[in-house]
Symmetry: C2
């Protein structure tokens, strides 16, 4: 007897020999008459089910046919070729062991349920085909990113989650504490005495690993982070979550052109990996969620991304025959509506926009010689807007220190960051990808809550 997995049965050479096979899995559907039952079993390894034929001469036939959906079975039987059927094979059961009997009120009965309802049962929704496909793709995309970077010698760095600084110099952060909230220690001025807290000072959840990973780029040349980041923003949009994952590659001896080339190459690598390794999952999403999905992904990998400056982008937006909600003029931060117009209507594909006004970007971005813009680049993609944000970093110690003053950041707090310029500083650049934005792009899902296993948003923390 040989244990088999659905994935192997569907994707590898099948052996229809005499040896019995053993399949374990969950009942997805069951149709039966008095003499025979057709059971669709999903074993978790593949989005498609395996059809199991059970005949009434089985000892426990009457028990088996009464099993509720999602009960678990261990089926021993013969693998039979069925060239004329919908599925190329089925299993004729010789023995069925009942592993677990599900309750009759199982919430995932066959009819289609709303995504909103499924969010309320996040512990069960991966059993639906839609979320099976989404979270399988999430796993494969994460691995493709690691593989792309590791194959090119990038070193993975786990930057800290608990931090005492705020990378962006702005943004709402979550505070972390081990103090008893109902009995806070106070200092002489009646303020909370953080010297009594676990770390001896006020601490927060990280919003980005970029600054700490820059230190590692100046030792390992090419590095990346891939971990969770947090924002305590009261944004009730489909694109914002309080907890999300970011990938932040950082490259020494690299300029803006280098990271633009690397980020385009990496994005195409990940999508090609999914087209090859998640074809059934993508097909399901194309059939059921977004019928333009596979075409969009194929266009993305086949065409070179366009590249324009921010100033050119503003020109295009000012000439556009569109009534934007947020008016366009040089100096504004682009909104999703502008980003989508550029990528969807003007270019029909991802487009890099470079050289943004220095005042709307972070302090660490390298000033261009024009005194007005910085060496930054955002990749705008259809349906999503900004997917990747990158920049060349200000590597000149004096310019960086002056800019920190201008942006009201403490030189003392960032002394170690300035030291990266003082000791062995060199040209370096990096970019960040919001992992969930990438997943929305490659799955067709249009709410960030539906690409995160257990999403955390304002007021929502079940599980």
């Amino acid at each position: 007897m040989k244990n088999v997995l659905a994935k192997d049965l569907y994707t590898k050479k099948r052996d229809f020999g005499d040896e019995s096979v053993v399949l374990t899995g969950w009942i997805r559907t069951i149709r039966n008459s008095k003499k025979i039952a057709f059971i669709e079993v999903n074993d978790g390894s593949y989005i498609k089910n395996v059809q199991v034929i059970v005949k009434s001469d089985l000892d426990n036939f009457d028990d088996v046919i009464k099993l509720p959906i999602s009960s678990t079975l261990k089926v021993t039987g013969k693998l039979i070729e069925t060239p004329d059927a919908q599925q190329p094979f089925e299993i004729h059961a010789e023995k069925v062991d009942i592993e677990g009997v599900s309750d009759l009120d199982y919430p995932l009965q066959k009819k289609k349920q709303s995504l909103e309802y499924l969010r309320s049962i996040a512990h069960l929704r991966p059993r639906t085909n839609t979320f099976y496909a989404v979270f399988k793709i999430r796993s494969l995309a994460a691995f493709a990113i690691h593989q792309y970077l590791q194959n090119r010698g990038f070193v993975y760095v786990n930057t800290p989650i608990v931090t005492s600084s705020d990378t962006e110099g702005a943004g709402e952060m979550f505070q972390i504490t081990s103090l008893d909230q109902n009995d806070l220690p106070k200092d002489a001025n009646g303020k909370v005495d953080y010297s009594k807290d676990f770390f001896g000072q006020e601490t927060n959840l990280t919003v980005s690993g970029q600054l700490p990973v820059e230190a590692f780029a100046l030792a390992f040349r090419n590095v990346y982070t891939f971990g969770p980041t947090f924002r305590a923003e009261n944004s009730h949009t489909k694109r914002h979550a309080a907890e999300f994952w970011m990938i932040e590659p950082e490259m020494a001896f690299a300029d803006l052109d280098d990271i633009i080339a690397t980020s385009e190459d990496m994005l195409k690598y990940v999508i090609n990996y999914l087209l090859k390794n998640a074809s059934e999952d993508l097909q399901f999403l194309n059939d059921n969620v977004d019928d333009n999905l596979i075409k969009l992904l194929q266009t993305t990998v086949n065409e070179k991304f366009a590249r324009i400056t921010y100033t050119e982008a503003i020109d295009l937006l000012e000439k556009a025959d569109v009534d934007f909600k947020y008016p366009v003029k040089w100096g504004i931060d682009l909104k999703a509506e502008h980003e989508r117009y550029l990528s969807e209507k003007v270019f029909g594909n991802p487009v890099f926009v470079t050289d943004y006004p220095r005042n709307i970007k972070a302090f660490y971005m390298r000033d261009n010689d024009d005194g007005k813009t910085v060496a930054a680049s955002d990749l705008l993609v259809p349906r999503i807007g900004e997917l990747i944000g990158g920049s060349q970093r200000e590597e000149r110690e004096k310019e960086l220190a002056d800019k920190m003053d201008e942006f009201h950041l403490s030189r003392d707090e960032y002394e170690w960051y300035l030291e990266l310029r003082k000791y062995g500083g060199t040209k370096h650049s990096g970019f960040g990808i919001g992992f969930e934005r990438l997943l929305m792009y490659v799955t067709g899902m249009d709410n960030i809550r539906d690409v995160i296993p257990y999403p955390r948003t304002q007021g929502s923390i079940k599980f």
Copy 2:
């Protein structure tokens, strides 16, 4: 002209043709006379330096030879074979561009510095050979784990970092809040009103992703987490950090024997991956940190791990001619001294200890029929003690609910977890690996602070 990397020069076929090569990197050492300078350049891609020969006929020879350590260069020159020298090749510079001039008070001068001091400059220490090797190994080990699991169809699940529950039913947790600590809202009883907090209730940093990932094992069969976890413990030991990473594979239709086999196979895979892909880094650590390191790793991969029960382990410890600090009797939780005695003295290799007393283990572990022990297994390894902890999970709804009562856990809070048994429950098992413990094992470092890029321990949160 062709850009080259040290890693390729050392590990691939070298091309000593006429074309000039370009190398960028940091000066590690510089020796010079009036006519010639020998510069050791590290370009970040490899632990070994490239020797660059600069002659006085170069325009900027006088500037170059005055450069402080850790200044950055772009060297254009000829790659020359040097079969009789220590290094098999060197670069004869035709041109040297100075990219960045380091400060003379660079803290990492050539002499050896203490690990304690290097912890205080965590942003610079990856530039030392020791930490270069450690963090390169950290990156490669992380990838080897992903590769092992993905190649076997395991699905990577990002379980939440912010959580409202406590997996272990114990343990000190960090609290997360967006409330103004100096102006906390209070309810009618004068207690903090968490309904005003970001998530509308009290929230914590996760201590384990196991419970949420179990839900995914019951959809995808084989899954894993790999992410940060947190403990607010006041432990000032070399083995404890407040923030550390865990890998938690979970397998449906698998029992204790299955996870013991998988965890042994996975550990050996990771070590073999490092022996192959980090040989120079391991050799450096073997020469400078622990001269038994490579031998230990080779023994680990070459021999089958032993397996004994907890009861047998207690027998061995009671018979041991050792004066343990913590006395031994059936029912105690094994301490590091006991774990190390068993793996180092009795077996000289990793050993699985199974079937621990139910009262010292977590509520979710499956009760054995003896009524006294659970189907749990810890892997004890030399130098470290416990490296992997696993168990078969209690899949029987009634038994689990009763045990939750017995362990004083709220059925309401864990209702979703009970539902995993109610709907499609089946035999399943999983294990957790502390990533930093694994790294201490494979690097020879004996303080957890030295295998974490920016360690977080009580009172310590610089950077």
